[in-house]
Structures are given as C-alpha cells and as structure tokens.
C-alpha cells in the first residue's frame, strides 16, 4: 500500500475488458527481484492499492471472443510483458517493446523518451495492469502471450518461463557467447542463476558468479557448476583478471540492477546520490562489468534500471570497443524453445526455489526475500493454499 508495505486484500475479480483478453485462475506466482525495486520505492508511479506480480501461471477460466487458441481449462504460463503481436516491435520479436500494450505510454515517454510494452503489476508507468500475485488475473492479448504447458510438468518446473528463466537466457544470448568463452555474471539471485546456467547451455567455457551471500554463491557452485567470487572478500577486477589470463571475461552480465550494494566509499557515494535524488539507482554492478570486460567484449544488462545514473564509465566503454546489449526480456520469443529444453531435461528451473508460501503470507515473504532472511533466494506463492501453512524449503 506504500513503500515497504505490501498487504493482502480482497479486491474485485478481474473481468474481460477487451475481445483478446483471458482470465486466468492463478495456481502459482512468484516474487521477482525486480518486485523489490517496487517494494523499496525505486520505481515511480506506484499507487496505493496496485496489485503486484508479473511471474504467474494458472488455469484459463474465461476468454474473450477474439481468443481462439485458448479455452477454459487450459493450463498456461503468462509472460510478463504484454504484447499485441501485430505492431512493428512484435513483428520483429521484440515483444517487451510492444507499441500497443501500454495505455499509459504518455507517462513512459516523459521518463524514457519512448514507451516499452505494458507489464503486469509493475507501476502505472508501464500500464497500471493488475499483477499476478493474486487469485485471478486479466491477461490482455491472450492469443499472443500465454503458452500452454503439458500436465506432466509441475508448476515449479514451468513457472519461471514467465520471466526469470527467459530473462537470464536472453542475458546470456545477447553476449553472443562462443564455445569456451569465459563469462562473468554479477548477481547470483534467481536471474543470475539462470544467466549462468544459460551461458553454459550456450557454450561458455567457464562461468563466474559474483555475489556476497554465501547461500547464493553455494547455489551457483552446486547447481550451476559456476565458479564464484565473493566481492566482500576479494577484488572482483583483480580476481577476474587472474582467472582470465589478464584479459577479462568475453561476456559480462549485470543481473543486479539499480539496487547494487558495495561496501566502502563508492557504495556510500551512490547511496548519498540516491538519497539526494541526484541519481535514481546505484549502478555499481554495471560499472564494474564494463571495467572488467575484455577489450571488444560484450556487456549484457538484464538487471533493471529505472531512470538516471551517475559516473557511467563511458571512456572505458568507448575506448575499448565494448558492446552493450540490454532490455526487458522478450519472453514470448523464448517460451517455446525453453519449454522444450525443460521437457528434454536440459534444465529444471525449480532449483532456485527456496520457499513456498501461501499467498496470504506475501507481506512476510516480501520482507524475508528483501532482507535475505532464512537463506531466501526465491519465493513461490500459492493462492488458495491454507493460511498458516509453514514455509516449505
């Protein structure tokens, strides 16, 4: 209902508002790291009463007359960007840049120059759509976004097709990884884990995860097979040089975004700048990724940024011929190929889940996830599950 204030309330059920809508009864939904940017007040244009959540799946319970590919009872995963499938961007598979799905495009144009697609539960800037941390959600352009998933796969295995698995995959894919390329990933949260896993799927030689939380570094080592750097214990730049023969990683992926942490003066500098509204986020990870990347390498930014940042090392970026690629994930582009990878057993995305809670414990879940309590890495919320159900690890 405000900064750091999430509540579970009864709200009106969603209705079909346009012919291409569907209504989905949500069976599983997750809290994303980028939801924490909303929780912490870093994204403007949130209003009291907004429904959060952009990672969700469930059962279709109603469809508009313009939806012919879905029917009641279908089990679907819903991609977080809302895309019409017909505009300039969608025709080029850049679904998160849909020109037609953000009814508040005028707001986004003021901040960003042009508007990206609408997104579920992610501020009025990107549409003011009610999110999926709820029992039901209205899904616009349901004939384009949701993918039907087979019954033999569990919710936990396919839920993350909605965002974090494709986001991590796109982060690695944007680096044009060649066989054997060393790849470094800043942030070993769920998106970072999928970026590391995807880097291996795409042929990376060694993958290095950077974080400070032991449980996340351990997950990267044990489940992904990555090497890890704890940036509180060692210099990231020096260690990466050491690990790559002095050259730096070919691919550097920022899976942290605007709320990066760094001890010491630089971290304090960015905190002060944000407090004084001189920048809108702490771009510590992307700065370091640029400085670390090998000459001519690629920096891929999948961590979320909202506005303006300070001390961007453009000199390093320009003089060393780096390439930067970025974007909200074009999830619809990846749904089918990544579902096939799950079906083939190449990856089981459920490895990032540490907690499963009933939806009505969402306030506690947000706090636990934000504060990294109880080794929390990823929370899945279950609408309809009984209140008081203990946390499942």
């Amino acid at each position: 209902m405000g900064k750091e204030d999430v509540q579970v309330q009864n709200v009106p059920d969603p209705k079909i508002m346009n012919p291409r809508d569907a209504i989905v009864r949500i069976t599983s939904t997750a809290i994303c790291g980028s939801d924490l940017h909303l929780y912490d007040g870093y994204i403007p244009t949130m209003e009291s009463g907004d429904v959060l959540g952009h990672e969700f799946m469930g059962e279709v319970v109603d469809v508009g007359k313009g939806v012919s590919n879905l029917k009641k009872g279908d089990r679907v995963v819903v991609p977080f960007p809302i895309a019409c499938g017909a505009c300039f961007s969608c025709k080029r598979s850049m679904f998160s840049l849909c020109e037609n799905s953000n009814p508040n495009a005028w707001m986004a144009e003021k901040l960003w120059g042009h508007s990206p697609a609408g997104i579920f539960g992610y501020s009025h800037l990107v549409g003011g759509y009610a999110g999926g941390q709820a029992e039901y959600a209205r899904v616009p352009f349901a004939d384009v976004g949701p993918i039907k998933v087979p019954e033999n796969l569990t919710d936990d295995q396919v839920l993350f097709l909605s965002d974090i698995f494709p986001t991590g995959y796109m982060g690695a894919e944007m680096c044009n990884i060649q066989p054997g390329d060393p790849t470094a990933v800043w942030g070993c949260g769920p998106v970072g884990q999928f970026a590391m896993k995807s880097a291996y799927l795409l042929g990376a030689g060694r993958v290095i995860g950077i974080d400070r939380f032991p449980e996340r570094l351990r997950l990267a080592r044990e489940k992904v097979g990555a090497e890890t750097i704890n940036y509180e214990q060692t210099s990231v730049l020096e260690t990466l040089k050491e690990m790559t023969g002095g050259r730096g990683p070919d691919a550097c992926i920022d899976a942290v975004g605007m709320e990066a942490h760094l001890p010491g003066l630089v971290g304090a500098y960015d905190r002060a700048k944000v407090a004084l509204m001189q920048e809108t986020g702490r771009p510590i990870a992307v700065r370091e990724a640029i400085m670390a990347c090998r000459n001519g390498g690629t920096v891929s930014v999948i961590g979320v940024y909202g506005g303006f940042i300070d001390k961007f090392p453009l000199g390093s970026f320009m003089n060393r011929s780096l390439t930067m690629r970025t974007g909200q994930c074009h999830v619809q582009r990846y749904l089918r190929p990544l579902l096939e990878r799950i079906q083939k057993g190449e990856i089981d995305p459920s490895f990032v889940i540490t907690h499963r809670l009933p939806l009505d414990q969402a306030p506690q879940a947000y706090q636990m996830f934000r504060d990294k309590q109880d080794d929390c890495i990823k929370v899945v919320l279950k609408p309809g599950a009984g209140s008081g159900q203990p946390a499942v690890h």
Binding site: Q9, A130, F141, D360
Partner: protein, 299 residues
C-alpha cells in the same frame, strides 16, 4: 555527407546584426530596470508608495514587496539569457498586473495627484516598451520562440501505423466519429465535424471542445520509409498550438498536443490490434491519474 533534409517551413528572414544588437541592448536595459525597480519595491516599499501617490498602508507595502520579488526574478531571468523573449513576455504580463493593482490601490485614496499621473505614464510607457522588445525578439531568427513555433507548426502529434494510407483514411474518420459519440475523448468531443482536405487523404476536424471554445486541427498521412506503413501527423489550429494553450490544456485537461497524441495512439491500437488497450487502472482513454478498479475491502 548527406544533404540536410528539407525543412518543412522556411526560416524567418535574416535581420541585420545591428538590429539584433539593438534589441539585446534594450532587453538588457529592461532587465536592469526590473532589478532596480524590484529592489526599490522590496526594500523601500513605504517611501515608494508615497512617491507614487497611494496610501502607505501595510497591505500596500506587502503588495509592493511581493511585486518587488517578481520584478527582480524577471530581471535576473532577462539578464541571464541572450534571447530573453520569454522573460520579457513575463514582464509584460507583470506590467498588466501592475496597472490593475495600481488602479485598484489608487481607487482607495490618492495622496499625490502628480505622483499618480507620473506613475500611470511610466507604467504605460514601460508596458509598451516591454511588449515591443518581447515581440521583436520573438521574431529574431534562432530565437527559442521562433524555433518552438517552427517545431509546433511541424506537428502537434505524430505516430507511425503499420497500414497503408488508403486504409487509414476511412478508418480514421470512423474512429473520430466513434470517439465523439463515446464522450471519452477530450479532443474529438461530441459533435465533432469532419471535412476533407482537397487533394489529400487527410482531413480536418472541428469539435465543440470544453467551455464552448472549439478545438480544430488537421491530420495528414505520408508514407513511412522502408515500407513501414504510414506516418500520421496531427496539427492543432491556433491558438491550441501555442505554448500558453499547451500549459492551459495540461492544467485544465483539454485539447493540447498530448491529448491528440493519445488519440493517435488509440487509433493505432485499434487499427493494428483490433482493440484499444485498457488496463485495470485506466478505464478512460485520456491521460489521467489511474486508480485501482473498484473499492478495496480489507480482508
């Protein structure tokens, strides 16, 4: 090097540097005058009130001091810019306010008939000078206002739609009529009238607007390069394309390029997707503060 693209509007005729320097000197003079007068109003309100022939009351002193702050702000604004036509127009508006306020104060009682005559003559003179200088500087080539006018004339709203102009032409007419009937648009309001632009596929519209002031403009089509559909440009007729109208439009939520842009966006959505995007928080189609659907009830 590629050639410069052809500008849609010719640039204003060049003026001699000598003439330009003259206006700039005059503006500087008005700037210093503004600061001097402002300082007198701010720091010597009582003596000044007596000098201009009105009663030296607490209310008059307070008004003079407030006007002094305004004058000094305008003076600094004028002196800090090479082409301060905006600040000069602000001074002109202030002059009108001064005259009105002075007449009101004088109607309560005059202490010096000579002071009143001198003050009114001075006010009239400086008002004329401000208007002259502001209007001349606004016409100078390269001035911000001239550039802005050029840009405003180019379009009030613009969008690219992935359809040929032949298809859009008829559909746009239907769309505007539909928006007028729906009562949801602040631009294409109920009773909107359409007419053809001879020789083009574009159209002109005229709608009653808000408060009886008609909102009118034109929309034209041109092919987008590389087979990317059609560029649709909308232009609002004067006075809706002026800066003041834009600000008023934003404040009072009527007309203005932003609202026309929103209508074009809705039209594009309808053409490309078959529906107009609405979210749970945007139940109407104009830019507005969004709210959650329905009343929230605590669990």
């Amino acid at each position: 090097m590629s050639q410069n693209p052809k500008l849609p509007h010719s640039t204003p005729p060049q003026r001699s540097r000598r003439g330009t320097d003259g206006y700039e000197r005059l503006a500087k003079g008005l700037g210093w005058f503004s600061i001097g007068l402002g300082a007198a109003e701010l720091f010597a309100a009582g003596p000044l009130a007596r000098f201009i022939g009105i009663r030296d009351t607490g209310r008059h002193r307070a008004t003079l001091r407030a006007f002094g702050v305004r004058e000094m702000g305008a003076g600094v604004g004028i002196l800090s810019r090479q082409r301060p036509q905006g600040w000069l127009w602000a001074r002109f508006a202030g002059d009108i306010l001064d005259i009105g306020s002075y007449l009101s104060a004088a109607s309560e009682g005059v202490t010096s008939a000579g002071g009143v005559a001198l003050t009114l003559t001075s006010l009239a003179g400086v008002t004329a000078l401000d208007m002259y200088c502001a209007s001349q500087m606004s016409r100078l080539p390269g001035s911000a206002t001239a550039d802005q006018q050029s840009r405003r004339a180019a379009h009030s709203a613009i969008i690219t739609i992935d359809r040929p102009a032949e298809e859009l032409s008829g559909r746009l007419r239907d769309f505007i009529r539909m928006r007028g009937e729906s009562g949801e648009s602040r631009v294409f309001t109920s009773g909107v009238q359409l007419s053809d632009q001879p020789g083009t596929q574009g159209l002109r519209w005229r709608a009653p607007g808000i408060g009886g002031m008609a909102v009118a403009g034109s929309i034209r089509f041109e092919p987008a390069p590389a087979n990317r559909g059609t560029i649709v440009r909308a232009e609002l007729d004067s006075p809706w394309n002026t800066g003041a109208a834009r600000i008023a439009g934003k404040v009072f939520k009527f007309a203005g390029g932003e609202f026309v842009q929103n209508e074009l966006r809705k039209f594009k959505q309808l053409v490309e997707t078959g529906e107009m995007a609405v979210s749970d928080a945007t139940v109407t189609t104009s830019p507005r503060e969004a709210q959650p659907a329905g009343e929230l009830v605590h669990a």
